[in-house]
């Protein structure tokens, strides 16, 4: 229940929030001092390595580790048998519901190898060479089974079945036989069949995308130590030290408080580090060996064994009136989940039509397991894939009707009061404003050159709130510490410090943000879902407000007046009591110096579960130039408008937009997992898994539209995920218009573009 707030015409001017100070952890990162996952060592540590399945699908008949244990220097060897059997338990502690048993079986195989790269055993040794030799001496007997990597093939009745306990959920009647289809998602409104029949124009097409990896530069790494008393220490690079703690505890059968996880700096995550791969193995090895164990993945392991996001097949059918009003939308999507259920097709279903006000629709999503690595979250999981298809279809509709693509978005745009396709009624959204900002941009009016095309696409993401804890401590000299439990993956430390500084009235240089370990700060949900500035920021602001309240109370005591007579302004307590006109203001330093004698340390901690996170909308314009001889596509201009609520630190908000765009461009043009006939990945390295480099991109114009979120003290809203949603279609629409052929299959690599040009000429 909440009131509809008016959108203020102008945001009130603030002192720190909205400026662009240098980030507090910046010096460490430009001098090489910042410590990431692989930069940490513990005395006496061993090297841990993993034996991985060479087969995409195989029954593990037996594992003989005896010869491995005999290698000099080898101190521990573990297999799935060394881990407790978990009942199937849906755990909500990560970002999305994940089956714990599946997670544990993904960390180390039990019974079956389900993808090439699946961990079968792990060893720890005093030297890397000994660990390698031990891996070579582990004898695994496999019964190789037929495998399936393609999502449509996996759905066919004759496909090899990965799990004999998997029966499709979400159907009217439970199927009798197991299959690879884990779940059906469905959203429906009105009568889509009738509306399509009655529509004046219909466009229909199938779209495909391939599995792509989050592509973080830092491979997974951790150091873990199992103490003699069962108390464990883990140093790990992840998107959430509390998530690591919880998963390790559950997978190993420990009490949560017995594990202390210290967050390393993280070299990129984008959702791919919202789960665990190494930590439970390192702990199990450490327990056996009696020494700490360090494990660092190679880049090849990152590709072969950590979650990409799904490849998908999407069919879209749109019905519209001649004036561009979309009256019917039918979308059917099938996503690869990898070895265990849990693709992001559910979120894709919910976001696919979220920007459109359509009376009749049917959206169906199929979650399908395949013999490929278990997918992990990737920045607005599922939404970019759905948006690629829907935005391409809307573009085709615009072309068919001879309408401007911006006009057709506006004609069908959701506004405050529209019932969203996924259910609730929108309020305080900024979609219209973002469309307007894109339309008014220089880019939209600029002329195009030869062999160039312009693509427009829009996108949506929910953003979440969730549990966060933050503490603000005032030191004896009046400097301040802001402590929270969210790893900084995009500059959030700066935002936390800025928000605290704003409330306290301090310059940002006097506020030090700290990201603390699981024993030193209260629980926080992981960094992801575009939640940190919103939810942890809320906790920071509330903690800082409590500190200000305490400071006012201390001044009131000293002045022998009531707290109502004390104002906090410019980092000083100011006396408003007319009877005490002689009282000069007390600075934060002065009050801090007297903290002990006036009642004790000045400190506050706030834990909350932030609700009311507002969704975000993006409108992107992409210009490409196509070389008709080579099929090479160059992105020559890019503008991304997004409603950001309020930009706490505009440079880092722009950075989120630009980074998401770059990932989307790579997804559209070049990135793809390529599997051979045996289900093995052929391109597990950066040479052949081609991500954008500096020469692939132009400057990216990020237009920040500020429609404040009334639920956040400074109006902030999550921004990190929306930017990756529109680019796939923005690029594809641009290429389609440049060459006059609708491009429906990603990636649009040079051979694909050449083939399309050849087909068109024929």
């Amino acid at each position: 229940m909440s009131e509809t707030l008016e959108k203020p015409a102008v945001l009130p001017a603030l002192t720190v929030v909205g400026t662009r100070p240098i980030r507090p952890d910046g010096a460490d990162k430009v001098t090489g001092r910042a410590a990431y996952g692989a930069d940490f060592t513990m005395p006496g540590q061993l090297v841990g390595k993993i034996l991985r399945s060479p087969h995409a699908h195989a029954r593990i008949v037996s594992i003989d580790t005896s010869k491995a244990r005999a290698v000099p220097g080898v101190k521990a060897v573990v297999t799935g048998a060394d881990f407790p059997d978990l009942a199937s338990e849906v755990h909500e502690g990560g970002e999305s519901a994940s089956n714990l048993r599946d997670l544990a079986n993904n960390v180390i195989a039990r019974g079956k190898a389900l993808y090439e790269g699946h961990a079968i055993a792990a060893v720890a040794a005093t030297r890397a060479e000994a660990a390698d030799e031990a891996l070579a001496r582990i004898k695994v007997t496999y019964e190789v089974l037929p495998h399936v990597t393609d999502v449509l093939e996996a759905m066919s009745p004759s496909a090899p079945v990965l799990h004999d306990h998997l029966f499709t959920e979400g159907l009217e009647a439970r199927p009798e036989k197991p299959s690879n289809v884990a779940k059906r998602h469905r959203l429906a409104r009105g009568d889509v069949a009738a509306a399509l029949q009655a529509a004046e124009v219909v466009v229909e097409r199938r779209y495909t995308t391939q599995a792509v990896h989050q592509g973080y530069l830092e491979p997974h790494a951790c150091v873990a130590a199992w103490g003699q008393d069962g108390r464990c220490d883990v140093w790990s690079s992840s998107q959430g030290q509390f998530m690591v703690r919880t998963y390790c505890a559950k997978i190993l059968g420990l009490e949560i408080a017995d594990i202390r996880v210290t967050p390393a700096e993280i070299g990129g995550g984008f959702g791919g580090k919202t789960t665990v791969y190494l930590e439970p193995l390192a702990l199990a090895l450490s327990r056996q060996a009696g020494h700490p164990v360090k494990m660092v993945m190679s880049r090849e392991e990152v590709f072969r064994a950590t979650g990409p996001t799904s490849g998908g097949v999407i069919e879209v059918k749109l019905g519209a009136a001649r004036d561009g009003r979309i009256t019917a939308a039918q979308v059917e999507m099938s996503f690869q989940a990898g070895a265990f259920p849990g693709s992001p097709v559910g979120a894709a279903t919910m976001t696919s039509l979220a920007c459109y006000d359509i009376e009749n629709f049917l959206v169906t999503g199929w979650d399908v397991v395949t013999n490929t690595p278990k997918v992990a979250a990737y920045r607005a999981p599922g939404a970019p894939i759905a948006a690629f298809a829907v935005e391409s279809a809307v573009d085709e509709l615009a072309q068919t009707l001879g309408l401007d693509p911006m006009d057709i978005r506006e004609r069908n745009a959701v506004v405050d009061g529209t019932k969203a396709s996924y259910g609730p009624v929108y309020q305080n959204i900024g979609y219209r404003e973002t469309l307007a900002a894109a339309r008014e941009s220089e880019h939209w009016k600029a002329p195009l050159g030869p062999n160039q095309g312009r693509g427009l696409a829009v996108g949506f993401w929910f953003n979440i709130g969730g549990e966060s804890t933050a503490a603000v401590h005032i030191a004896e000299d009046g400097s301040a510490l802001v402590v929270s439990g969210n790893p900084d993956i995009g500059g959030s430390r700066a935002s936390m410090a800025m928000m605290a500084a704003e409330v306290l009235g301090l310059p940002i240089e006097r506020v030090r943000p700290i990201v603390a370990d699981t024993a030193s700060i209260g629980y926080s949900m992981l960094t992801g879902g575009s939640r940190t500035t919103f939810a942890t920021g809320m906790a920071v602001v509330q903690a800082a407000e409590k500190v200000v309240q305490t400071l006012r109370e201390r001044a009131a005591k000293l002045w022998e007046t009531t707290v109502e007579q004390v104002e906090w302004k410019g980092a000083q307590a100011v006396c408003l009591d007319p009877a005490k006109a002689d009282k000069k203001p007390l600075t934060l330093e002065a009050l801090a110096a007297q903290a002990g004698r006036t009642g004790g340390p000045i400190s506050a901690q706030v834990s909350l579960n932030a609700q009311g996170a507002g969704p975000g909308f993006g409108v992107h314009i992409c210009d490409v130039e196509v070389d008709r001889e080579t099929g090479q596509v160059s992105v020559v201009r890019y503008t991304a408008a997004q409603d950001v609520g309020r930009a706490i630190h505009p440079s880092y908000v722009e950075g989120q937009v630009q980074g998401g765009v770059a990932q989307g461009v790579g997804w559209a043009l070049n990135e793809a997992y390529i599997f051979d006939g045996d289900g093995r990945m052929e391109n597990p390295g950066f040479l052949d898994y081609r991500m954008p480099v500096a020469s692939d991109l132009p400057m990216i114009d990020a237009v920040l539209v500020e429609v404040p979120n009334p639920r956040h003290p400074f109006g902030a809203k999550g921004v990190g995920e929306v930017p990756i949603v529109p680019p796939l279609a923005a690029v594809a629409n641009a290429v389609s218009r440049a060459i006059g052929v609708r491009m429906a299959d990603l990636p649009l690599s040079p051979p694909a573009v050449l083939a399309a040009l050849d087909d068109a000429a024929a």
């Binding site: 722009e654 950066f686 500096a694």
Partner: protein
Amino acid sequence: MSKVHVSTTVNGDPVEFLAAPGMTLLDALRDELDLTGTKEGCGSGDCGACSVIVDGRLVCSCLVLAPEAEGRRVETIEGMAQGGRLHPLQQKFLEHAALQCGFCTPGLLMAAKALLDSNPEPTETEARYWLAGNLCRCTGYDKVIRAVMDAAGELRQERTA
């Protein structure tokens, strides 16, 4: 096979270590010399996170065998700031917010330094192509290029001053 004794200069300091036969310069820097500022992103010379400068030349240290450093001059990120003062590139990276997670930053800074040492007045295109060997997944390169161009301007001013 026995280890090779290597004597070299890193960031102006003479150092020595023992290198196992297959050890790369990257491993030597990180594991033998405790200089963990240089990062491993791929181990195959495709990402540039391990970029260092050897005898004035930009290289991927994961593609250089440790014994090859014998008698040479190696520069890493740890030597970029001098006497407590950040190099203009480091300062501009901070001012322009040209880093987010920071993992690619040491390699990018080394590569950018090598660029400006050899070409003090690069165009945007020249800068982009020079830095094409350094992958960044967070920034989209926009602010990185702005920082490099700005630092180039500042260094030119310092030279003429």
